[in-house]
Symmetry: C2
C-alpha cells in the first residue's frame, strides 16, 4: 500500500466536500494551494462556465481531474424522458473530455416515479449505459459506475453492490477494454461481506477507476448528508485501501464528504487542511 505521508499529490478533493461554498475557479486555487494532486468537480459548478477553460485552469494549477461528477439518472417512466436523460449525459461526457477527466462518474438512478419494478429499472440502466458507452469511448472518457449504498436503491441508484456493478460491466464490455469500470466509494461498500473478493475481481478485470473515502458515523443523522471525516467513524480505511491497491488501483485517493450540518458549515481552508491531515494520518 502506498504511503500517503507527504504524498498529497496522490490525493484528490471531490468538491462536494467543500459544500459548494465558492465558485469553481476559487475552489481550484484552494485545492491546489493545499497541496492536493487532483480535483473532482461537479456539473453544477460548471454551469455558465466553459468546460475547456475550467479544464485549462485545473491543469495550469498543477491538478488533474480524478473524476467528473456525475451522470443524471437513467431510468425513466417513458421513452422521451429516457432519451432526454441520455442526451444530457452525452453533453456531460463531452464536458468530461474537455476537462481531461480520468473518468465520468455514473450514479445510475433508482426507480422511476410510481414504479416498483426494480428489475426493469436495472434493465434500463443496462440499456442506457450501452448507448452512453459508445459515445464515451469515442471521446476517450472511461465510465465509472458507482454502486451506491442499498439505502439509496429506490431514489438514487439501483446498482448497489460491487458484484452487481461488475456483472453490468461484464455485460457491457466483455473484452475488458478499460472503457467501463467502477468508482468505489467506501461509504457505499464498507459493509459488503464480499468486499475484498470483489475488489480483487475488479482489479483483475481492470475496472478500478476511482476510490472515494470518507467515514460512516454512528449514529448517522441523515441518510444523505451526514458523512463523516476520515477517522471519525467506524470504517477501517487502511484495511480497505490496502485491498484496493493490492488489487491494482493506482489512482487518486479522493475525499468525498456530504456533511450539511458539520463540515459544510466550516471554511474551505479548514476543511482542506483537515482532509490533508487525515489522509496522512488515518487512511
Amino acid at each position: 500500500m502506498r504511503d500517503l505521508n507527504k504524498r498529497l499529490d496522490l490525493c484528490s478533493i471531490n468538491t462536494a466536500t467543500l459544500g459548494y461554498q465558492q465558485p469553481i475557479h476559487e475552489t481550484i486555487e484552494a485545492v491546489a494551494r493545499a497541496g492536493f494532486g487532483a480535483i473532482a468537480p461537479w456539473r453544477r459548478e460548471l454551469e455558465g462556465e466553459s468546460a475547456k477553460q475550467v479544464g485549462r485552469h485545473i491543469r495550469d494549477a498543477g491538478l488533474f481531474v480524478s473524476g467528473y461528477c456525475r451522470s443524471s439518472y437513467i431510468p425513466a417512466d417513458n421513452e422521451t424522458q429516457f432519451m432526454a436523460g441520455i442526451d444530457d449525459n452525452r453533453r456531460a461526457i463531452d464536458d468530461a473530455a474537455e476537462l481531461g477527466a480520468r473518468c465520468f462518474v455514473m450514479v445510475v438512478g433508482g426507480l422511476p416515479a410510481g414504479s416498483k419494478d426494480l428489475a426493469a429499472a436495472r434493465q434500463q440502466v443496462h440499456d442506457g449505459m450501452a448507448i452512453l458507452l459508445e459515445h464515451a469511448s469515442s471521446r476517450d472518457v472511461p465510465l465509472a459506475i458507482e454502486p451506491l449504498h442499498p439505502m439509496y436503491a429506490a431514489d438514487r441508484a439501483c446498482i448497489n453492490t460491487l458484484d452487481q456493478a461488475l456483472e453490468l460491466c461484464d455485460a457491457l464490455d466483455p473484452s475488458e477494454s478499460g472503457s467501463v469500470g467502477l468508482a468505489v466509494d467506501l461509504y457505499h461498500v464498507w459493509w459488503d461481506p464480499q468486499l475484498e473478493a470483489q475488489l480483487t475481481r475488479a482489479g483483475k478485470e481492470k475496472r478500478l477507476f476511482g476510490f472515494h473515502v470518507c467515514d460512516w458515523l454512528v449514529p448517522t443523522h441523515d441518510m444523505l448528508l451526514d458523512r463523516g471525516m476520515m477517522g471519525d467513524g467506524v470504517i477501517d480505511i487502511p484495511l480497505i485501501r490496502n485491498w484496493i491497491e493490492q488489487a491494482g488501483y493506482a489512482g487518486s485517493v479522493e475525499v468525498e464528504i456530504f456533511s450539511r450540518d458539520d463540515w459544510w458549515k466550516r471554511q474551505p481552508a479548514e476543511i482542506l487542511a483537515t482532509c490533508a491531515e487525515r489522509l496522512q494520518s488515518v487512511c
Copy 2:
C-alpha cells in the same frame, strides 16, 4: 402463491407494529379479535410476566407465536460481556420455548463500541451462534437469523445479506437439520440483486423460518423508525412473496412496522384493521 383473501389465519402481527401501546395481554386479545392467526411478541413485553402464562393466553386466544423477538447483540469488547450476552440469549430462548415460538429471531449485533473490525464482529457472531445453537436445539427452538439492511451494519447487525446469512447457517449446521435458518424481512432485503436466487437456495436448504412485511417509503425520514405500511412504498411485495413461497415457505406472513411518527400514533385497532386490509389487497 397463497391467496391471503379471507385468510388472515395465514398472517401474523409483530407487536412492534402496534408501538407497544398496551400490555401484552391486551395486545393478544386485540390481535385475535382482528382475525389474525399468529403473533410475534417482543421480550420487553414479557418483562414481569410469566412466559408460560403468556404462551397459554396466546394459545387460548387461538393464536400461535410466529417468532419471538429478539436476541440481544452478540459481539462484545470483552469475554465477560460476550458471555453475559450469551446467557441473556439463553434465557430468551427458554422463554421462546415456553411460548411455543416457531423461531427465535436473531438480530446479531454490529461493531462493539470503539471497534472498526467488522470481520472480528462477524467471527464473534459465528462463535456465539454456535454456543446458542446447542442450547436452542435442546429446547426445540429454531434460531432465525435476520439479515439486517446494510445501513445497520455498524450498530445493529453485521449480517447484512441473505447470502451471508446462509453461509453462516451452512457453517453452523451443514446437515441442514432445521435448527438454524432465516427470518426474511422485506425492509432489509428488497434491494438485493440476488434476492430471488438466495430465497430459492434458502428454501432448498430448509432455512426459511420467517417472512416479515412492511414497505420502504420514499423519502425515508428516519433510518430506524420510518417504515411504511404495505402498499405505501416502493416494494413489489407480491413479487417477493411469490418468490419465497415458490421456494417453499409456508409460514406466516408477519407484519412488522416501526413507525414512530405515523402508525405508532394511531390506535391499535386502526393499525390492525389497516394491516388486515393491506395484507388482503396489496400483498
